[in-house]
Symmetry: C2
Subunit: 327 residues, 2 copies
């Protein structure tokens, strides 16, 4: 989490001049994003009353050809009333611009803070917002394959290797060897598909009290099983950071909130355990790969793969079959 | 430049509740400060119209016993009309609070951006603002020794050692050995004293166009020769980042702007070359020490000591005696 590129005031003022948002009055590099640099920008606004924006410079991992998908998705969802930040188009209507060969986008600033210890009522609101996003995205014309699907988990497992996984935790390789073929076999490919956020951690939700004011950071958004997004969000919200403690109250509230807006079909409901295991495996493997491949002098703090391996064990445990049962 | 401590939304909301500033609506960690963590905070404001603040957590280097000096200095200067951010006192009137044993202060947010390539007119405004600060500080009751004085440059030179300096640049040790005793001998101790900023780099000045909207980051402020602050600011503003190119136009404008508000005495004027060499040596030595003592995995980017060694050579060169001559 850092600002990777220095943009001087002169560069920023020149850039902001390409948008109809008034004149630059403040710019602070913010410590968010691991694959991009972000600035909180203030301008005089179109009416002189002041306005704020997030300026994002895409540094790594994100392909420029994917930007139209991410940025026009924000516009589509915002137009349908979802709490997502709109993309500010430049004076020529473009969704992003280039500075020194790097793409930059100007995004609406939304109020709200990311909670560290969600309450059940906050999880209920997040469930509702996620369902609203799924309904609103059904007529979005764009499509993008899920780059972090089960196939990628397999590739990452092979890249880490048995020795690499063993260096993280003695039990990790066996867990992955047990789960990966099982999940590949049981993946419920016939379920309904839509655009999904695919990374809706508490960090990526802005809230004021129990109200969701912003769903942000859509850079893993893709087209995949709708119910898989419920599973990702479940894995992200219902455990403590280390994946040791599961909260039944948060789990129930999240699912209830979701179903108050978009009821899950019986098939989706029945698939949730497999989807949640797949989600837990996806974060286990991406974190394991990053763990083994992050240089010691990197600006990024490595996240524990085992926090998600524990979730995977939790979801795979038959004793927890009731978590996703219809109440 | 990083946020060293994670403060969750719940911690932040609790903290903000101790101030009469409305309710927390946004908090973004900002990538500023090397010895502290900073957040750009938004609240509903006392009147519901919204307000912004900088929250600073003091992490390293800054002694808590110095905080009353720094923070009440801001209040004193702001009350006299200087463009500095006020300290927001908590409901009990305290200048700072403690979280987990670390001091945190809430500071007024000021608009403006830091220029990378100042124009002469911007330097003129900075000169005026610096002189205004000096006049406004004359009746400030606090005092603080300059921890980065010539004695500290000597200590840092000894800590770096000949070998350490040689590892940075073959010419560095000889330069320091020539300058240090000369400057100790010629230090003009009898000149007028006041509170000085002592670190007024472009990074620490917020501007809108040619107007100074904020002088910030007072954590080197101390009581020392007033004209020494002019010399520090001169060294900080009149060269490119590498210290290779001197701008006579910026130099002249900075000094003219300063003297339009607080004319330098003949003695101060005559001392400027020695003061500027001392300032250049001070940053050479602190950067050299940091260069040799910053671990490879640190979150901080090391700054080149030679960028200030070059300034030191510039100021010591008799061919440049005219820089500080009365025009």
């Amino acid at each position: 989490m850092a600002v990777y590129t220095h943009l001087g005031a002169e560069d920023l003022a020149e850039l902001i001049g390409h948008f109809d948002v008034g004149e630059l009055t403040s710019a602070k590099g913010i410590a968010e994003g691991v694959s991009n640099s972000n600035w909180l920008i203030e301008t005089t606004g179109r009416d002189g009353a002041g306005a704020r924006f997030i300026l994002t410079m895409y540094e790594f991992r994100i392909e420029v050809e994917d930007l139209p998908f991410f940025l026009s998705l924000l516009d589509h969802l915002a137009a349908k009333g979802c709490p997502v930040p709109r993309t500010i188009h430049d004076r020529d209507g473009a969704l992003y611009r280039l500075i020194d060969g790097k793409a930059v986008a100007l995004i609406e600033f939304l109020p709200g803070v990311s909670v560290s210890h969600p309450t059940p009522e906050q999880a209920r609101s997040v469930g509702r917002a996620l369902a609203q996003l799924h309904l609103a995205s059904t007529d979005f014309p764009g499509a993008r394959a899920n780059a972090m699907d089960l196939g990628e988990s397999r590739r990452l497992a092979e890249a880490c290797g048995q020795a690499g996984m063993a260096s993280i935790d003695p039990a990790l390789a066996a867990l992955v060897e047990r789960e990966l073929p099982l999940l590949e076999r049981e993946w419920p490919a016939g379920l309904p598909r839509s655009v999904i956020h695919a990374d809706l951690f508490p960090d990526n939700v802005l809230m004021l009290g129990e109200t969701v004011t912003g769903l942000i950071d859509f850079y893993f958004a893709c087209t995949d099983l709708t119910a898989y997004d419920v599973a990702v969000t479940h894995a992200a919200w219902c455990f403590d950071g280390e994946g040791r403690n599961f909260s039944p109250a948060i789990s129930a509230a999240l699912l209830e909130g979701y179903e108050a807006v978009r009821p899950l079909s019986s098939e989706e409901r029945a698939a949730l355990p497999v989807l949640a295991r797949t989600a837990a495996l996806r974060f286990t493997m991406s974190r394991a790969f990053d763990w083994l491949n992050t240089p010691a002098d990197a600006l990024v703090v490595r996240k524990s793969p085992m926090a998600f391996a524990r979730r995977l064990e939790f979801y795979a445990d038959p004793a927890h079959a009731g978590v996703f049962a219809r109440s």
